[in-house]
Symmetry: C2
Subunit: 339 residues, 2 copies
């Protein structure tokens, strides 16, 4: 990137959105400089090659959610499950988590106590160990209460190779349940709205492991920042094919619909924290779906669409009323600090 | 910990200092809850056991240094070298680094561009790959410009087992060079003092690898937050023996002495970012020292003291004038946001 293009540009909230602005920031300021074949794949976790352990996965995420506590979870639950899920959607069994705190001077010990209690509980339930950590404190006003980074190490399931290259027209697209609840739960708490929406924050490995046993899964991703729309757009882009989604098959709860409408949001772009989108072999889709429905986190699983030869690189939504609309990548930031 | 003791307590800057307050915070709010045998060792990196790769090391650190740029480095250099060194002092060859940014809305792209350029350069020079990352943006005023977390994965050298349990009276304590420059370089920039002190920020693996070849190294740690004094106190505590340090052997540059005096600081407690303290077999110490002196980062290496039967759990400094004083653990925080 030419220096003239960098000059006078500022970091905006949208650069953390998971959308177009973030992609461009990463491409322009990081990818070329850090260049290596592992990073360039831009997968949820990096598959490490020369550790002697060929199937090791490694991932990182920082959590800045505001408020720290929200219906269905808190920053601690999120920090453990988020990283567990980034490993899981790569087909890697999560094993070890690191945790690094940046705390604001003056934070109540009681708050940190609640957060670490949540992390411990989430780690036990996801069957991972928190094995290493770090604590930094900055002056009052230099951070907003608490930020947490977790990184994770997992083991790729034997013989498993998920890859965008395997995606072909006719493949089915499955999601494990209702969408939009995490983002709206955080928003409702932040804005002091009364709703009964709870975050879907949950560890996905057990569900995903049961899906992988069936076979036929080609690619997975978790629709967090930027929501389902962003993941679908990414899949269309990296596979080089089109995607057709049937709006009637999208599991969206009534309260999510109505609260989204009030806020002027589209649930397709709202963050989820316990959802996986899988691209599967056409012939295995029904069996995978039946497996998913047996798991607590897959009861509302649904085949929401398929990969198409047409509309290459685009996501087309067949609306409930029978029309069609293009689902674009997120421009700007719908909901800052949602994770 | 009883709930009554947590109530009304606040996070202080000293909880991020590397000293007593930080230890107590970690013990009281994290260790018991996250309990597992790997974490409980509280080593610079975690040695992972059940990944199929028995000698894998994993570490994490968040960097909040203020200012972002200082003589001899910046937050980017620091974030790469700090994590590289946490692996290195465990005897693990650093291989892979993750990098996660928390950016303040409004930050100049030019600043981030400089930081990522530094990270790329530092990664190349430490021969590690940045393989996975994350970017979050928070509203203006919710963070101070930029925080970076790096986590790292490395491979323990074959047949190497460094352990506090191997430490015995008579063992020598070696450091690879002058102390105190990192902390003072950051302070001088922050407070706008004119000095010629530069941070010692550097990747230690190459030096450490050359030391390990000799054999006889029992334990290593890098004296970052809390400085040399804190590491020595930790070694005395975990080994159960005493430590005697000869002040005349401590490599401290004249400008560090005088600037510390102006600031009312003790260089023994000031952070370093390119230093390793090694406890070695008495008979191998001279050979290890000669190896270190051949490396650019070990030219001023010095045997600064030894493990003693006397003064169990304590560090005793023999002063230049012939007296003795106890080196205590850091209480409070000398220099916040130094790394």
């Amino acid at each position: 990137m030419k220096k003239t293009e960098i000059k006078n540009r500022k970091i905006l909230l949208s650069h953390g959105s998971g959308g177009i602005a973030m992609s461009s920031l990463i491409k322009e300021l990081m990818l070329d400089k850090f260049d290596n074949p592992i990073l360039r794949l831009l997968t949820d976790s990096a598959v490490l090659k020369s550790t002697g352990e060929k199937n090791l996965c490694f991932t990182t995420d920082s959590y800045v959610v505001n408020p720290l506590f929200f219906p269905g979870g808190d920053i601690g639950t999120l920090a453990v499950n988020g990283t567990v899920n980034d490993l899981s959607v790569m087909g890697a069994k999560p094993l070890y988590i690191s945790c690094s705190f940046i705390l604001e001077e003056g934070l109540d010990w009681e708050i940190l106590d609640k957060i670490t209690t949540s992390m411990a509980k989430a780690a036990r339930s996801a069957r991972v160990q928190i094995v290493t950590g770090d604590t930094k404190v900055v002056e009052k006003g230099s951070a907003d209460k608490a930020f947490i980074n977790t990184s994770g190490v997992g083991i790729l399931q034997k013989g498993l190779t998920l890859s965008k290259k395997k995606i072909k027209p006719g493949d089915k697209i499955i999601i494990n349940g209702e969408i939009g609840s995490h983002g709206l739960a955080v928003m409702s708490k932040r804005e002091n709205f009364k709703t009964n929406i709870k975050s879907d924050c949950a560890p996905l490995w057990e569900l995903i492991e049961s899906m992988l046993i069936v076979g036929g899964i080609k690619f997975m991703r978790d629709p967090t920042r930027g929501g389902v729309a962003t993941v679908l757009c990414e899949i269309a882009e990296i596979s080089g094919f089109g995607i057709k989604i049937d709006e009637r098959k999208l599991p969206i709860h009534e309260n999510v619909y109505s609260f989204s409408e009030i806020l002027g949001l589209d649930p397709l772009y709202v963050a989820n924290e316990g959802k996986v989108i899988a691209v599967t072999n056409k012939d295995k889709a029904a069996f995978i779906l039946s497996k998913m429905k047996k798991h607590a986190l897959g009861k509302e699983a649904s085949i929401i669409g398929e990969i198409t030869k047409e509309n290459k690189g685009k996501v087309v939504l067949e609306t409930i009323v029978g029309g069609e609309r293009i689902v674009d990548r997120l421009v700007g930031d719908q909901l800052p600090r949602i994770c």
